[in-house]
Symmetry: C2
Subunit: 111 residues, 2 copies
DNA sequence: TATGATGCCTACCGATTCTAGGTATCACCA
DNA sequence: TGGTGATACCTAGAATCGGTAGGCATCATA
């Protein structure tokens, strides 16, 4: 893995997954690709992180899943954002913004 | 605890501590106060998070510690950023910036 | 035929933060 | 004097969560 690929901070993965799905239904493997692509290759979600996360998120009711066949003729499990999930995305984005702002404030401080 | 106080994400605490110490030597309790103050009360580091973190950071050589008496006449353990610690702060800030940028990119995406 | 990409999954590890407790000193006020 | 709250340190344990490393199957392509 390239050095410039940052490890995620704990707590950001859910938001990224929800965001990826907010752009449209997608299967797991595709979520990884979409996040990588949207972030200009800066974010690389590992499969071992994604699938457990998807399971968690589904349990919480933020996404719904169904098996389907896509264009290429292959089967895959498609995830879709629920209404609750969309709300959750907004909440998490707001939290993220707050945190980024707060940390920026601390970093502005000068000697 | 007020609702608007964000929980930290794992990985951000070290950076905040190092940043607080980059403004000058300080004892543990004071670090908590300084972070809270600089962030406009948005960030509240728990003691149970701070002290173990300080121990870790000291082990890594990013800070040095010594017991001393401060103005009020009370004893406290004062932490000081080492040269390595200052480098580490820069590294962590750069990582943070990269992550914030990457996530911003993902969030820019529209349907 | 073998390799790499696609696509799913699990088990376990490691790191880190929080909760909840403990101790002690000191200032202040009833 | 006694109690409370702030200051100041610490630890144990729980919980969370992302990563590593494995497994399995299909498909296209070299």
């Amino acid at each position: 893995m390239a050095k410039d690929k940052a490890d995620l901070l704990q707590g950001t993965l859910d938001m990224l997954i929800l965001k990826a799905l907010s752009l449209g239904e997608l299967h797991g493997y595709g979520i990884i690709q979409r996040i990588r692509q949207l972030s200009d290759e800066m974010l690389n979600v590992e499969q071992g992180s994604l699938y457990p996360a998807l399971y968690r998120i589904e349990q919480k009711g933020w996404v719904s899943a169904r098996w389907d066949v896509h264009d290429t003729g292959r089967e895959a499990k498609f995830y879709k954002l629920t209404r609750t999930g969309r709300k959750q995305l907004e909440t998490q984005e707001a939290s993220w913004d707050r945190l980024v702002l707060a940390i920026a404030k601390v970093r502005q401080a000068t000697t």
